[in-house]
């Protein structure tokens, strides 16, 4: 409603859409030039930014553009097959199609975001594209809500569907105890044999029932290790550093099946090599928090990851993968239910929801710190020449951060949901990540958690990638 009335006000004042076009030097820029030299008359609302190639368009350019007050953005480059750099436009097509899906999920009016192929000879097409884009943005009205949450205490919280019944019960204390006993024994013997130089596992924290990461380097300290259904951390986050600091032995790390998937990412991106680490798999029935099964565990089919070097079963440690053989009960993924619910709302409602979430963001960067795949020595938020992510803890800075974090993990996130678990502001980061994973699977048949050898989806393309959004 507020947005509508602002639109009305703006219309009275003679508002004109402000649109930024990010165009490539070789095709669209020349095409726009052609439109000018042939005296085409078209809407004057577009400001061009000339780049060498649309492959250079980072989604950050687009968020920055909106941040600075643009009402719409159009990205335009060479037709497939015409790219001056052979494939830049095809890489851009994937990246931008994903970005558009994310922005749609966040509730940005998709009349504000456009993509086109315009060649150097298509002056007429360029003028048409500009007219169409301008008309669409005019219809959408001024963008007033970027980085602005309409927070009122009375605004009704969204009623997400109730999570389904837990498909399986929590493991029995006896089972946990026998796994714990075998884990301690194996850790001690692998450490004394020198096969491992450190075991990163779980130990008791200082709060009742709390489990925290524990580093064990002496066999005598193996008794600090334990396993139960509250061992939430994805310990693989420590691997890139730990392999650098390790002594002669490998780095042993206790992994649940979801944690092990992050190792696929580390291997794919050459952050560790397989012979530097030893994965001690624990049979996992799911993670329980406050008496409920964690959302990521409902549909999880894997008791033990197929990647593990050791399985610590209740009957003892076994080399390689060992499962109990019991049939594992699974249910629909509650995260998918939550995503479907959000998608059933109007774009405005979604926008309000996410802006309210982002407005709480403290910018503590815990989401990044706990993420195994966020191993960069310097994260984008720490880069300040230029300052791509505003340092200000307000709607604009927080929107830029959360959008960028999600995009940087697209095709890399394995869905361990550590980011969402630790977020002090309870922002459902898991839903953002998962929505992008869904999109990658639907559009490009890609899953990040299976094959360490598969090319990351945003570094490659297929000539027939979907481009219905163009």
């Amino acid at each position: 409603m507020q947005q509508l009335s602002e639109q009305g006000k703006a219309a009275e004042k003679g508002w004109e859409p402000r649109i930024v076009a990010l165009v490539c030097n070789w095709c669209t820029y020349a095409g726009a030039d052609m439109a000018g030299t042939t005296r085409r008359i078209y809407a004057p609302n577009v400001r061009l930014v000339r780049l060498l190639c649309t492959g250079r368009v980072d989604p950050l350019f687009i968020t920055k553009t909106f941040e600075h007050g643009a009402d719409g953005v159009v990205v335009s480059g060479c037709h497939p097959g015409d790219c001056h750099y052979v494939q830049g436009n095809l890489l851009a097509r994937r990246r931008l199609s994903l970005f558009r899906a994310l922005m749609d999920f966040l509730g940005l009016d998709n009349r504000r975001l456009h993509f086109a192929w315009v060649s150097a000879s298509e002056g007429i097409k360029w003028s048409k594209v500009v007219d169409e884009v301008t008309a669409a943005v005019r219809e959408a009205g001024p963008l007033t809500g970027w980085g602005k949450a309409a927070i009122t205490n009375s605004s009704r919280p969204l009623l997400f569907p109730d999570p389904a019944e837990e498909p399986r019960p929590a493991p029995s204390p006896e089972e946990n105890e026998s796994i714990t006993a075998h884990l301690r024994k194996s850790a001690a013997s692998l450490l004394s044999a020198g096969e491992l130089s450190v075991v990163i596992g779980y130990g008791a924290g200082s709060l009742p029932g709390q489990m925290v990461p524990a580093f064990v380097t002496n066999p005598e300290e193996a008794s600090l290790l334990a396993w139960n259904e509250r061992c939430a951390n994805n310990l693989t986050v420590y691997l890139p550093q730990a392999v650098k600091r390790r002594g002669k032995g490998k780095v042993g790390v206790v992994v649940k099946s979801c944690d092990a998937k992050a190792v696929v990412g580390l291997l794919r991106e050459n952050q560790i090599t397989r012979d530097e680490v030893s994965l001690l798999g624990v049979p996992c029935a799911g993670l329980w928090e406050n008496g409920r099964l964690a959302p990521k565990c409902h549909a999880c089919p894997e008791e033990v990851s197929s990647l593990v070097d050791w399985t610590i079963t209740p009957d003892g440690a076994k080399q390689g993968v060992a499962t109990s053989g019991k049939e594992r009960a699974v249910a629909a993924d509650p995260r998918d239910g939550a995503i479907a619910f959000l998608e059933s709302l109007s774009a405005e409602e979604r926008w309000d929801y996410w802006q309210r979430q982002f407005s709480r963001c403290l910018r503590c960067y815990a989401c990044q710190a706990v993420c195994t795949l966020c191993y960069c020595a310097t994260c984008i938020w720490e880069r300040h020449r230029p300052q791509w992510i505003p340092t200000t803890n307000d709607g604009k800075g927080n929107t830029a951060w959360n959008v960028t974090r999600a995009m940087h993990l697209a095709g890399r996130c394995v869905g361990c949901d550590e980011c969402a678990r630790v977020c002090p502001a309870n922002i459902r980061l898991d839903l953002l990540n998962r929505r992008l994973s869904q999109e990658l699977e639907r559009k490009f048949q890609y899953r990040s958690d299976i094959d360490p050898g598969a090319a990351p989806p945003l570094t490659t393309f297929r000539p027939d990638d979907p481009d219905e959004f163009l």
């Binding site: 205490n153 919280p157 403290l362």
Partner: protein, 356 residues
Amino acid sequence: MEMKGWRLAEREWREWLEALARAGKRIIAPVKEDGLVLFRPVASAAEIALADYENSRWSAKEFLFPRTEPLFAYRFQGDEVSLEEARPDGTEQVLFGLRPCDAAGLRQLDHIFLGEEEDPLYAQRRKLTTVVSLACDKSQPECFCTAVGGSPGGMGGSDLQLISLGNEWLLRAVTQKGETLASAAASRWTPASDKDWGKAEEQRLAVEQGLERNPVPAEWAQLLERSFDHPVWEGIGRRCLSCGICAYVCPSCSCFDMNDEGNAWCGVRCRSWDSCTFAQFTRHASGHNPRPTQASRYRQRVLHKFAYFPLQHQERSMCVGCGRCLKLCPVGMDISRSVQRAVSAATSKEGVSEQS
């Protein structure tokens, strides 16, 4: 000292807050948002959510020391630069429902922002703020206020304190400012009796009994300062992932960074919260970082709370024991345990264990 206070029904203090709001004061109180308890300005006292209220997810310090605030705006016109100072709005505010630990945290912020060099923006907000704290009637597993000199009924930093007495409430005037805030309605309230004071005291003692963490004696400050080079810190900080949760939920952390947000023609210089646990916090322009490891950054956080600040300001500690950092830490870093461990390592001659 004579204690001044009133016995009230919940309806009475809600009406009082309602009247204050009508008189143009901004009431900031705990509300529920998406499953979280947060401090927010409320339009009506009915929004205040005290049912099962333990403590807010993060402290209310942002209403005195905002996450981000403009210091000034700049504009280039030709060769001229014009500056415009930030003018915070002059609305009087009432911080209602802070736990005594958070109120004590404001006193620590006062040391920083009103001490040697007064920060005008903070000072103005502080002057316009009256703090009505809410004494604790139970403790949480993460609480350790008594270990650092606080109390579930502590009054440091409060102007008034509300104490639950079962079905009724006791409102205690702590400062003249608090008494003034209550004065408009106080004539209609029943003065508290000795029995009421007795009940409040009983409750405070009962809650204190439930707090089990070992005290941090004031003498430890020097001991900790001397532990700076002790290898135990490497083990203590090993788990830390260098995020900023601890600093951002903390009622007494006060560090900030400044940055210009703008373009070539105009912009705003803002200061925003920052955290000593970030690698970037001390990274020099040259690339050199005097605190290059997570462990050295975590040590800074602990020592600032328990050594540097107490020595500089003659306080017991900077930490007020709300326990948020240890409850919310992704890897369960426990600041009070870290202190105990550093002290025992520094005082023992034996080798140190790797574990925390």
